[in-house]
Amino acid sequence: MKYIGVPTPIDDALMKVTGHALYGDDLAFPNALVGRILFSPYAHANILSIDTSAAEALPGVHAVVSYKDSPQTLYNRIHRNLHDTPPATERVFDTRLRCISDAVAAVAADNEVIANRAISLIRVEYEELPFVLDSELALGENAPKLYPEGNLLEPLLTQCGDVDTAIKSADVVYTQRMETKMIHHAPIEPHVCVAYWAPDDNLTVWGPQQGVHRTQIILSRIFGLPISKVHYHSPLMGGAFGGKDGLTAEHIAALLSKKSGRHVKIRFNRKEDILCTTTRHAAKMTATIAALRDGTITAIDYRQFMNVGAYCGGSVNVLHAMCGKMFKVYAIPNMRFDGKAVYTNTPVGGAMRGFGSPKVFTAIEVAVNQLAKRLDIDPVELRMKNLMVPFAPDPVNGSSLANGRVRDCLRQGAELFEWDKKKQECKAKSGERYAYGVGLAAAMHGNGVAPFAPDISVASIAMNEDGTCLLRTGNCDHGAGTYTLYKMIVAEQLDMPLGDINLIHSDTDAGTYDTGAGASRNTWTGGETIVLVARKMRERLFSLAAEVFGVQAEEITLENGVFVTKDGKSINKTELVWYAMDKRREKLIETLSYNSYYNAGSYGVHFAQVRVDKATGTVRVLDYVAACDVGTALNPLLLEGQVEGAIAMGIGMALFEEIELDEKGRGKSTSFRRYRIAHAADMPKIRIHFVEAYEEHGPYGGKSIGEASIVPVAPAIINAVNDALGTELSDLPLLPKKILAALQK
C-alpha cells in the first residue's frame, strides 16, 4: 500500500509548529464578553439567598445569572443519543450545591478583570449541609444523602462459573486491596467555549468538544430549543482524553449570552480545569485471585466502590464498560465483577482515557504478580498459562473475543525487554541505597460502543473542481492524528496526496453526524466509515473512466493518480470531474452512514524496569517496553506517539497524580504545582512493539490504540516497585512518603 502503514506526520503539523494553528481560545467575535463562574465554596450546601445587585451595577458588567434566571430542566451532562436516559439530576444553576464544581452564579463583562471583580461582589447566604467524600462511607446508613433515594447510583453484579467454590478449593488465594484516586485529564489546553444566543433563538457554540451532536441534544433539552436551532462547532483541539466530552460551561455561556445579547466566552483557568470539569473516578477495589499449585488460575473475584462524585455523567457507562472488559483478558472459568457506583460530594467522575479499564486492570494485574510470588512462578509464565486465546468466546455472553493477541504481546514483549536477564540483573544490582525491579501487566480496551448503543459515523466525499476532494466527517480529533489517518485512507483509495484532501469536521452544520469521539471509536468506526465512503467514490470514478473510454471498469487501473486503460489511454480526476458535470450534469459526491456492530479488543502487555531510592522514596522508571495488539499498524509514527503519551500519563497515575481534597471536600490541587503531571525528566527509555494480526471489521484490519495503551502502564510500574522492594504497595499514587512508610515496616 502506498499510504496505509507508512509513518506519516500529523497533517497540520506545519500550522502547529509555526504557531499559526487556531484553537478555541483564539477565536474572535465582535463585541464578545468574558464570562466567569462563581463556584460553590462548600462540598454540600443550600443557597438561602443571593444578592447580585452590586455585581450588576459594576460598569462593564452586562449580565449576571444565577438560579433565579436559570431554566430548571434536569439534565445529565453526557448523552449518547436522544433516547438515552441516564439519571438526570443537574440544573444549570440549582439552589442545592452538591460539590465544589457546582456553579452558584456567573457574570459576563467587558474583560476578565471586571468579570472577576463582579464575581467578588456577589453576596450569597449558604446553609452548610453534612457531606460525604468517600464512596464506601457514602453507603453507610447514616451517611448524608445527596438524593432522597440514597447515594447508590448503580450496582452491577456480573459473573461466570462458580467463584466461591473455586476460591474454596484453590491451593493459593491472594487478595489485593487497592485504591486509585481522582485524576485530572490535564489536556494542555484548558476548557474554553464561546456561546451566542441570537435574537432569532438560534444558539451557536464554539469550543473543543468530543461529541458535538450529543452535546447539541443536551443544550436543546436544557433550553427547550429544537435540536436544529442549536449549532455546535468544535475547532482544533488541544488535547482532551475524555475531558472534553459533554457539557462543561457551554450552558452557562449560553445563558449569559441570552441575557446579554452578546457572544460570551468562558475560559477555565487551570484550577477550574482540575476541579470543575470531570475526573477519572476514584475507586476502592478488592481483587481476589485463586490458583492451583501448578499456576492454573481458577477464579477472579473483583469488588469495587467507584466514586461517581455528585452527578452521574457517564458513570453508569463507565461501570458497565469496565465490567465487560474484565472478562476478556484471562481464560478463567470463574469470574465475578461486583461493582457499585456511588454518589459523594466530590467533583464529578467521567470518561477518561481507558474508560474504567485502568482501575480494574491495575487491581487485577498487581494481584496476579503477588500471586505469582506466592506460587513461586515467574509472572510471565503465570500469565502465559492463563491468558485468553484469539477468537475464544467471552465467558459471560459467548460472543467472540475476536483476534485479540495478548499472548503474542506477552511473548514478543518479554523477548524484547529481555525479561529473564533483566530480572536477574535487577537482583544483582540492588544495594543499600537503590533497589531495582521489573514488572509487567497485561490488559485490554474495547473498540466502539457496540453492541450496547448505536455506533454511527457518517462521512461524505465531494470531488472538487480541480480534481482534489473535500472530506466531511463528524468525528473529532483530540489531537492524536485521527484526521491524518482519515486522509491517509482517502489517499489510499483515490491515489491522491494527503495535501489534496480538504477536511470539514466535528460541526453540526457543515460536518456529518457522529455518535461522538469516545470509546476508541475514531479509528475503529470512524476509520471504517472513511474506507467505505472512499471506496464508493473510487468505484464511481472507475465507472466514469470506463464510460469515457467505452470499456469495462475492470479494464481500468489507477496509476499515479490517473485512470489508465489497457491500451494506454488515460484520464485524470480533474477531467473526470468536468466530464461528469459537462456530459452527465452531475457533481461527484458520495455519502455513507455506517454503524459498527462489532467490538474487538485492543490488547497490550507492558514491561517496566524501575530504580527505587530507598533513602528518599522516589521511583525512577528506567526502561520500558510496550507490546501492543493493533491489528494493522495503520500509521506507525502516530501509533508510537499515542503509546509514548500513554506511558507518560500512566507513570503519573502510578507515581504522583492525584486530585487532592481537604477534609471539607475543597480542592487542594489548584495548579500544576499541586497536581503534578509527568515532565520530560520522568520519562524512561521506551521501546514499542506492534503485534500485527488483521482484525476483521477494522479499517484495513487496524484497531484502536490511544485508550488501550494507558491501561497496563500503572500496574506494570507498581509491580516493578513491589519487585524491587519486596512490598505489597497498592495505594495509588505511590508517593515517596508511602514508599518510605512501607520500607519502615
Binding site: 509513518p7 509548529v17 508510537e640
Partner: protein, 142 residues
C-alpha cells in the same frame, strides 16, 4: 511599542496584539506554554508584568519563523506533534537552549526542558528531535 495597563501581564498584552502563539495553559507559570524570549532569554509571559519588559526586545514564535525553521522541520518529520498546543513555548525554549548549552548531556537537556509540559507525546518525539537538532547521540539506560 504596545500600549499597556500597569498591572497587565505580558501574555495578555501579546495575545491582545494578535500574537496567538502565546498560549495560556496554567496562568501560574508552571506549564511553559506562554514562553517568549526577552532579549533572547526564555521567560514565562503569564508571570511577567508587561511593564517590566519596557525597553527590551520580546520575541514570540511569530517573529522567529526563520530561526525556528530547521528545528520545526525536524519536529514535523519526527511526528513529535500531536495536539500542538504546547509547541510554540517548547520551540522557543529549545532555540534558547541551543544558544546557551553547547554540548549538553541528556540530563541537562531534560532539566532545561522540564518546565515545558506536554500531555500528548510523553516528550519522546520531542527529545528525539532535540537530539537530532543538537547533534547528540541516543542515551543509554542507567
Amino acid at each position: 511599542m504596545l500600549p499597556i495597563e500597569p498591572d497587565e501581564y505580558l501574555s495578555e498584552t501579546l495575545r491582545a496584539a494578535g500574537m496567538l502563539s502565546v498560549r495560556r495553559g496554567c496562568d501560574t507559570g508552571m506549564c511553559g506554554l506562554c514562553t517568549v524570549l526577552v532579549d533572547g532569554t526564555p521567560i514565562l509571559s503569564c508571570s511577567t508584568l508587561s511593564a517590566r519588559t519596557d525597553g527590551h526586545t520580546v520575541h514570540t514564535l511569530e517573529g522567529m519563523q526563520e530561526e525556528a525553521s530547521e528545528f520545526t522541520k525536524y519536529l514535523t518529520e519526527q511526528g513529535a506533534e500531536q495536539c500542538g498546543f504546547c509547541a510554540p513555548g517548547f520551540i522557543l525554549t529549545v532555540l534558547a537552549m541551543k544558544r546557551e548549552l553547547q554540548t549538553p548531556t541528556e540530563e541537562a537537556i531534560r532539566r532545561y526542558l522540564n518546565g515545558n509540559l506536554c500531555r500528548c507525546t510523553g516528550y519522546m518525539g520531542q527529545m528525539r528531535t532535540v537530539r537530532r537538532y543538537m547533534g547528540l547521540p541516543e542515551p543509554e539506560v542507567d
